[in-house]
């Protein structure tokens, strides 16, 4: 197994994890601090008085602008027009006349990764496709998000075999939409969850246990070449 531990395990600097400021919301709420990412002296205690004041002062100044930006971003995702298999049909239907994803402003499917900021992995990811998807994801401009739609690319689903790779093995995924294939409503629910996440108010659910939002990715200084990561994925998948 070459999978990264979900909560920064041994040998991974928590500062390099993509989601590292998870506890901000809890801190502001004054709740008890949890999570493996925290420095040891903060673990298991609450912020009080001056510490809390300073913490809040640091955040509030930048918060308003951030909020405006997050609001703008979260209400106009430009998904990449990218269908792999069955789920792509339900993705069509989400954009179709009955579900009409345009109600939320997500109807502008873009053909080029340069113009897109959301990749919906709709279908099964084969070992041959994985490096290409990673490359597409790498070519998208920041900020970018990923939704893994359907069982196949979340966990390989019913086809747990030599040919497939789950998406979170080679790229970070923010929201998983279960189903085989998920109904269009489910996809829209997933996109709306992502909207809440981008607005920095994620529905954590059971992820509180991990202190994580989606799949975390270690950002090293030099990004890993796509081919190498896919080869690693292939080795484990084919073994």
């Amino acid at each position: 197994m070459t999978r990264q531990p979900l909560s920064g395990g041994d040998g991974v600097d928590p500062a390099r994890l993509r989601v590292r400021d998870l506890n901000a919301r809890q801190l502001l709420r004054g709740g008890e601090l949890q999570g493996a990412n925290l420095p040891a002296h903060l673990r298991g205690r609450e912020l009080e008085k001056e510490e809390l004041e300073r913490y809040v002062a640091e955040r509030v100044l930048t918060t308003s602008l951030d909020k405006a930006v997050a609001w703008a971003r979260s209400n106009s995702f430009f998904p990449l027009a990218f269908g792999l298999a069955c789920c792509a049909m339900e993705q069509f239907h989400a954009a179709g006349p009955r579900m009409d994803i345009a109600r939320f402003g997500y109807e502008a499917f873009r053909a080029s990764p340069r113009q897109a900021d959301l990749i919906i992995l709709a279908g099964r990811v084969s070992i041959k496709m994985a490096p290409i998807i990673r490359r597409l994801y790498d070519q998208m401009l920041e900020p970018k998000w990923a939704i893994s739609m359907g069982a196949c690319c979340s966990s390989m689903g019913v086809f747990n075999n030599y040919a497939l790779v789950p998406a979170d093995k080679f790229m970070p995924v923010d929201v998983y939409v279960p189903g085989c294939p998920p109904r269009p409503e489910a996809l829209m629910h997933g996109v709306l969850k992502l909207r809440k996440m981008v607005q920095d108010d994620p529905d954590m659910g059971w992820r509180d246990r991990y202190g994580a939002r989606g799949t975390e990715e270690v950002l090293s200084q030099e990004p890993r070449p796509a081919d190498a990561s896919a080869t690693a994925a292939r080795e484990t998948a084919g073994a």
Binding site: M1, L6, M156, Y162, A163, W206, R234, A237
Partner: protein, 183 residues
């Protein structure tokens, strides 16, 4: 569909025509006729495949519907290649099957035209798939390389001794063991 007698007649014709040279490696081209569930199958010597298909084409079976492989592991010869032929005017199907030893799974390609008659262009992708999935080498195929798996993949996944693969799915109850982080 040819009935059992019809199948025997076809086999007789094939024996009469193909048993003689040019390719008389082992005498009769038809090893066995199998009639099962109303469908006829000719089990033939691999060396005669081009000749047998050409003769069947001459007798009307002009449409090669499918070429696919099969693995009879652990029996030997274990690798089979199956050619499904269709006669559109009589709406009649016949199956031609050959078995190859896994030591040297080689058979003549029926894709390209040869001196013994025209080929079957439809066999191009299908032979490549059989090569990819079973490792059967089609002699004379001009472009025999992997078609579904990546070019640098090792092994032939559809062979029965190839593991299905996959990986354990991480749930809350098995995250410790599946992720390999003992705590």
């Amino acid at each position: 569909m040819p009935d059992a007698t019809g199948l025997e007649l076809i086999a007789q014709e094939l024996r009469a025509a193909q048993g003689a040279p040019p390719r008389t490696a082992s005498g009769s081209p038809v090893i066995e006729t199998i009639f099962f569930r109303g469908r006829g199958t000719l089990l033939i010597e691999p060396a005669h495949i081009r000749g047998v298909l050409a003769q069947l084409r001459a007798s009307g079976y002009g449409f090669l519907a499918s070429v696919h492989g099969v693995d009879h592991y652990p029996a030997e010869p274990r690798l089979g290649v199956i050619y499904e032929l269709l006669d559109m005017s009589r709406v009649d199907r016949i199956t031609v099957k050959l078995l190859l030893h896994s030591e040297r799974p080689e058979v003549d390609s029926v894709y390209a035209d040869g001196e013994d008659g025209p080929g079957w262009p439809t066999a191009n992708h299908q032979e490549r798939e059989v090569y990819d999935m079973f490792g059967v080498i089609f002699r004379g195929h001009p472009d025999l390389r992997r078609i579904l798996m990546p070019e640098d993949y090792e092994g032939h996944p559809q062979r029965r001794d190839f593991p299905v693969g996959g990986e354990p799915v991480v749930f809350t109850h098995n995250e410790r063991t599946a992720l390999g982080t003992p705590k």
